[in-house]
């Protein structure tokens, strides 16, 4: 086990002297070479958790161990957990090369050896030309790649990322997240990555930790968290979802028949509590089809055309469902007020217990 957090708690005192729990008992295990993202809205405690792993904040309670060693009270410089910051945090008074070599020199690596390692890593990342520049001569994307180089070159035990892409424009963000994934896989680096961007989390992660109000809401592979969210919060934070109240009609071995405004539907049992009479159906906009052949009559309330897809709001049996249709030019774009027949793919829906 590379990193283990047990029951981490962090309390801050706000200016009025009130105690605020930023992190309220987080436990997590990260395996060797795994990339785990902490995902959640601002104020959910993800950054505070990361800063405790780095040693920038001291936990109020709980333990942190890295490679089996308890580092809870260790100062940051004895943890070997370099961080890539949102602000890049390149030292403005040092050149790119000096920035990159900073960590190696702190470890007592000889200057010439450090230079060799920086050059080799920079070459692999295509940054060799930038080494003699000063940080302020670089674009945002270049600065972030230098920050990554600076952290990687120290061969960290764990690499930490604090929303590293949020200061970049959309195109650069996509390119950078591909690059980060490539580099981390190549060097098999263990990493904890904080973000509030769900796309980033989906693309990068081996596992996603969704956080809410200082607690872990769900941990799982991206596919799992998206397809089988553990709560309404997770379902609506990762992607879009409609919540449809249903009654449990029948329960078989591993399957379930629900009845509600969308009609009766047989789905895989997500493990509802025994004897549950009611459930909430989670319907993603892309699992609703308007292509015809459906049994539910609906009416298009609004239409938005986005090029790669069309989005509709469709009124069905007293509900308003958001619907996405990819490649809309093929089937034609529906006008507002159009009558449609709605069908829902039972393999793509999920059910939550009533109180989840």
């Amino acid at each position: 086990m590379s990193v283990r957090l047990s029951n981490l708690v962090k309390e801050f005192t706000d200016p009025r002297g009130k105690k605020v729990r930023a992190v309220a008992g987080v436990s997590l295990e990260v395996s060797e070479g795994e990339l785990v993202t902490l995902l959640g809205p601002s104020g959910c405690g993800k950054t505070t958790t990361l800063r405790m792993v780095a040693g920038f904040e001291e936990p109020t309670a709980g333990e942190i161990s890295i490679h089996g060693r308890d580092v809870t009270r260790e100062p940051p410089h004895r943890r070997n957990t370099p961080m890539v910051f949102q602000s890049y945090a390149l030292f403005p008074h040092l050149s790119v090369r000096e920035n990159a070599a900073f960590g190696l020199l702190q470890k007592g690596v000889e200057k010439s050896a450090a230079r060799g390692r920086v050059d080799a890593m920079a070459e692999a990342m295509g940054l060799l030309d930038l080494l003699d520049r000063s940080p302020h001569q670089l674009s945002g994307g270049q600065q972030q790649r230098v920050a990554l180089l600076r952290a990687l070159v120290t061969e960290p035990k764990v690499l930490l990322f604090d929303e590293p892409l949020s200061n970049l424009d959309a195109q650069m963000r996509v390119a950078m997240r591909e690059e980060i994934r490539r580099v981390l896989r190549k060097h098999a680096i263990t990493a904890i990555y904080v973000t509030h961007d769900q796309d980033e989390a989906m693309v990068l992660s081996d596992r996603i930790v969704v956080m809410e109000k200082g607690r872990v809401a769900q941990v799982g592979a991206p596919r799992e968290v998206y397809a089988r969210p553990a709560s309404r919060f997770v379902a609506s934070f990762l992607g879009e979802a409609s919540f449809v109240p249903c009654e449990v009609r029948h329960r078989g071995a591993g399957s379930l028949v629900l009845d509600g405004p969308l009609g009766a539907m047989a789905i895989a049992d997500p493990g509802l509590p025994r004897g549950a009479l009611r459930a909430t159906l989670v319907v993603r906009p892309e699992s609703v089809s308007l292509a015809g052949g459906g049994s539910l009559p609906g009416r298009v309330r609004s239409t938005s055309y986005l090029g790669h897809e069309a989005r509709y709001e469709v009124a069905v049996n007293g509900l308003v469902l958001p619907v996405r249709v990819a490649n809309p030019l093929v089937g034609g774009i529906l006008a507002e007020g159009a009558e449609v027949s709605v069908s829902i793919e039972p393999r793509a829906v999920h059910a939550l217990a009533e109180d989840q």
Binding site: G55, P75, H77, P82
Partner: protein, 562 residues
């Protein structure tokens, strides 16, 4: 931005052209002309022709060379010590999250609003021959006679101590700003890459603060050079430039020699001023990111925190001790002779100097609106209008702030004691001097407030049909008011505590409290001097706090601290 388009803009708004002309005329008369007179006096012989005699005295006559060397030495020592002390406190406030941070900040800036020579007075009360430490503690209790071992509070050592305590707040304010602007992520990045706290401080924090440290060294050097009150009281046989220039003019009636010495004071100040203006135009070295600066954190270890905390407490303690001592001194019947406590000093000092107190308050009160109106008009023109010579107006109107008081004082004496404009001996010369000398404070406040008021607010008013004057009166002015009023308070305080420039223009009919205090100190009436100082500080604090409360009430949430 061309000259032609500037002139074209003026054509469309003739009232702007008129105001610009008036402001330039006023600047020429009360800022440029006196300085010019100083320069001219340096090179004018007794026959009215050109001579280099006075300037050459600066390098050849020992009583000219000596004060120059002394001033340079003192300035260097104070610059280093003051910057070190200021940095320590700034570090404590921005990096260690100390208890009572607000109080610490307040006490550390106390010397800025107090009269400049009060600390010197306290130094005498503590370390003079009859001082508490020297006589009461060491001689009478411990049997050690410091003065027999060559110690003397009058001179370089005493001055360095007193000026360090007087001027470290400059470094503190500057460096607190610099340190607060350094992104804490940089220090965290260094630590996460394996640098210990000490190495992080040496390799990251210190280099990033270097430009600020350099600026602080320069500013304090200049402040020390321009200081007049402390060396007059505490210089002893250690003569410095400002005091020598004063003595040359008032004691030896040698205006040319005094002017030549003043020129030596003026040149480094102008150089630093020019350097600062040039640096401000370039991009700042400090990185500022969107994330709010976090306080505290782990960048300082427990031991470091304790060391910084204890030394900060000692420094602030010294400041409090020095001011508190003046209060004690004012209550002692006769310092060094009769130690019983009494209020009689207040009675007698007030009886002697009652007119000086009223004159001080009256003249300061009269000079404040002069500062305010001029500052407001000039700042508005510079920030919001385009006209030829805009930059020149900016530099010229900030100039009196950079020029040492002694030079300004000599300039006013030279300029207004002979036709075309004879003002010496009147209240007008004092009001003008105080008013224009303090205007830059208001200008800075008004300028930065104007920069923060988005132009679109004024455009919105115009767009809704308000003519320019109404836009100014109904939109701009109310938004400026809090900043302007708080800087006015500061102008008033500075006018009350001024000494270096006004000492040249006071007269029998118009004298000032500060000058009266210096008089008592010179005649060794320390208890009376202390009593008057207490009265002065009380007036200043009352005005300061009163204005602060009034502003808080008048502009809730919008009031910016000075």
């Amino acid at each position: 931005m061309s000259l032609r388009s500037d002139i074209h803009a003026l054509r469309r708004e003739p009232w702007v052209a008129l105001t610009v002309a008036v402001v330039f005329a006023v600047l020429a008369l009360f800022v440029a002309y006196p300085l010019l007179r100083v320069c001219v006096a340096c090179v004018t012989g007794a026959d009215g022709g050109f001579t280099s005699e006075h300037l050459s005295r600066l390098f050849t006559r020992w009583h000219f060379v000596r004060p120059i060397l002394n001033s340079l030495l003192l300035g260097s020592i104070v610059a280093v010590c003051g910057t070190a002390v200021g940095f320590l406190l700034a570090f404590a406030v921005t990096r260690t999250n100390p208890p009572l941070r607000g109080t610490l900040r307040r006490l550390a800036t106390l010397p800025i609003i107090a009269p400049p020579f009060v600390i010197a007075l306290s130094a005498i009360l503590l370390f003079g021959r009859n001082g508490i430490v020297v006589r009461d503690l060491l001689l009478e209790r411990g049997g050690v006679d410091l003065y027999a071992h060559g110690f003397d509070i009058y001179g370089l050592g005493g001055l360095a101590l007193v000026e360090t305590l007087s001027y470290f707040p400059t470094a503190f304010l500057l460096l607190a700003g610099v340190l607060a602007a350094i992104d804490p992520s940089l220090e965290e990045a260094a630590m996460s890459l394996g640098a210990s706290r000490l190495r992080t401080f040496v390799k990251v924090t210190l280099p990033l603060a270097a430009p600020g440290l350099f600026a602080s060294l320069l500013l304090i050097f200049i402040e020390s050079l321009a200081d007049f009150g402390n060396p007059l009281i505490l210089g002893g046989r250690f003569n410095v430039l400002s005091v020598q220039a004063y003595l040359q003019i008032t004691g030896n009636d040698d205006q040319a020699g005094g002017s030549a010495l003043a020129l030596v004071l003026l040149v480094p100040s102008l150089l630093v001023y020019a350097l600062q203006a040039a640096l401000l135009e370039r991009r700042s070295f400090v990185t500022v990111t969107g994330k709010p600066a976090r306080l505290g954190g782990v960048s300082v270890s427990g031991t470091g925190r304790a060391v910084v905390g204890v030394s900060s407490a000692l420094i602030v303690g010294a400041v409090v001790l020095f001011y508190g001592l003046v209060l004690y001194g004012s209550l002692v019947t006769l310092w060094g002779v009769d130690g019983t406590l009494t209020l009689s000093n207040f009675k007698s000092a007030f009886a002697i100097s009652r007119r000086d107190v009223w004159d001080s308050v009256l003249l300061a009160a009269l000079s404040t609106p002069v500062s305010a109106i001029f500052a407001l008009v000039a700042a508005y023109l510079i920030e919001r209008k385009r006209f030829p010579g805009r930059r020149a107006m900016e530099l010229l109107s900030m100039l009196t702030f950079a020029v040492p008081g002694t030079v300004v004082g000599i300039g006013y004496v030279l300029a207004f004691s002979r036709p075309p404009l004879v003002l010496t001996g009147t209240a007008a010369i004092i009001v003008a001097l105080l008013g224009f000398r303090n205007a830059p404070v208001g200008m800075k406040a008004a300028s930065s407030a104007l920069k923060q008021i988005d132009k679109s607010l004024e455009e919105a008013a115009a767009n809704l049909g308000a003519p320019p004057w109404r836009t100014f009166a109904r939109v701009t002015l109310p938004l400026l008011a809090p900043a302007l009023f708080s800087s006015l308070t500061y102008s008033f305080v500075r006018a009350m505590t001024a000494v270096s420039a006004v000492i040249f223009v006071v007269s029998g009919s118009w004298n000032l409290l500060t000058v009266a205090i210096l008089g008592f100190v010179e005649s060794s009436e320390l208890s009376r001097a202390a009593a008057l100082s207490v009265i002065l500080v009380a007036i200043v604090l009352a005005v300061f706090e009163g204005m602060r409360l009034a502003l808080r009430r008048a502009f809730p949430g919008r009031f910016s601290e000075v």
